[in-house]
Point group: C2
Chain length 215, copies 2
DNA sequence: TCGTTTCCTGACCGTATGGTCAAGGAGAAG
DNA sequence: CTTCTCCTTGACCATACGGTCAGGAAACGA
């Protein structure tokens, strides 16, 4: 028993706080810089400046640029996996896919940098996350395909290729993050406002759910 | 009339041939390297090796790395614009959007590198093609939105937000190029075969055309 | 207070990169 | 052959980058 649950919550060690705060600052800065410049274009100096720390301090917390990058990528993957739970425990495609689109669109809005880092990583052949693709992502995909297959058999939607449906969902939702700059440019240079985001979510859900004959 | 159409085709000057061939070799190599490593990660040495030329020779044909990159990006944009004509002169969404999906899917299959370079460029804030986005792309988009709007008014499809429909089309078709590695990994590590590509095209067209109520 | 561990950072290093240049080689023109 | 233009390329340069390190500061435990 280490006891002192409450007190140790209030003052869990200064050291721990420092480490946590600095790692957070570095990871946030890194996510932004990697997204905006790519792995090759990003520099440790730039990340350090954005985090408000000397460059040598980055290497105290993260041994190499690749280590830091790896941490950033895993971070995003976890966020997506969390959102993927929207799919489960849904009685049918209207609820399941509807919630999944909502969740992924929200992530594109709140975590645009992470989405870009992921996209960049995959485009370059997934040098550091190939194992994720082959294990976690493959398992998740197979599971969701089974769910969709079941919905089809239960007559809750038209028979469509579940794999290509998933790709369409991924592509479209992530497009709002990855191609956010293009979308903004085509929106008179302004980011989508609240109403436009709602419109986007509704449009995507409507198109997809109609497309699969669920509504 | 410059005359000698045939003869000047056969031997239009050795010099011209050399220049054309070398520029072609460099651009092809550059497209691949930029796609696989990003602008920052690509090196002139790597491009030179892949093109089979000494590095100094690249700088004879393209003054700087940025010049070379700019040429690569414009090249892709032109390919896409050409495919975009599928949209025009179509009597309705089934033909117009159907042909557009086919064309863009074919490009994703035949020009995966170009698509990735474009995606990368946009993700990084479009530093070198911002003017394209603001002029050519914006005009093209507005024109297509008008066409879709007309189809809706003519009762040839359900009323959907044309802009978000276009985004879905771009996102989905380009996904098969940009995330080709992920798709391949989820396909037991093998690239999609002919049948799978046909299935993908059919699935996307089916989902979209049903989604907009055109079939 | 003192010793120990963790954190901080300016200065430094080897390397790789984009770009230059001068000298030479190959086509074209007369 | 001569001359001119265009093409080719090894050697070179300045810079910027990832990463190291030694020595000091701050937090912690006793």
């Amino acid at each position: 028993m280490t006891g002192d649950a409450q007190i140790s919550r209030l003052k869990p060690g200064r050291r721990m706080d420092i480490r946590r705060e600095n790692e957070r600052a570095i990871l946030d800065a890194a996510e932004k810089v990697f997204a905006e410049a790519g792995f090759g274009g990003a520099t440790m100096q730039l990340i350090a400046d954005m985090a408000g720390l000397p460059k040598a301090n980055l290497h105290y917390y993260f041994a190499t640029k690749e280590d830091l990058y790896r941490r950033v990528v895993s971070q995003i993957f976890e966020v997506w996996l969390e959102a993927a739970s929207s799919f489960d425990n849904a009685p049918g495609p209207v609820e399941g896919i509807g919630a999944y689109v909502d969740a992924k669109m929200d992530i594109s809005r709140t975590h645009p940098h992470g989405s870009k880092v992921w996209a960049s990583e995959v485009m370059h052949g997934a040098p550091v996350i190939q194992d994720y693709l082959e294990t976690t992502l493959r398992d998740w995909t197979d599971g969701r395909i089974a769910v969709i297959q079941r919905w089809i058999e239960e007559g809750k939607m038209r028979p469509v290729n579940p794999r290509h449906l998933l790709y369409l969902l991924w592509a479209t939702t992530q497009h709002y993050a990855d191609f956010g700059h293009q979308i903004q440019t085509l929106n008179a240079g302004r980011p989508l406002n609240e109403k436009q985001w709602q419109d986007a979510k509704a449009s995507v859900k409507d198109l997809v759910l109609r497309g699969i004959g669920a509504i």
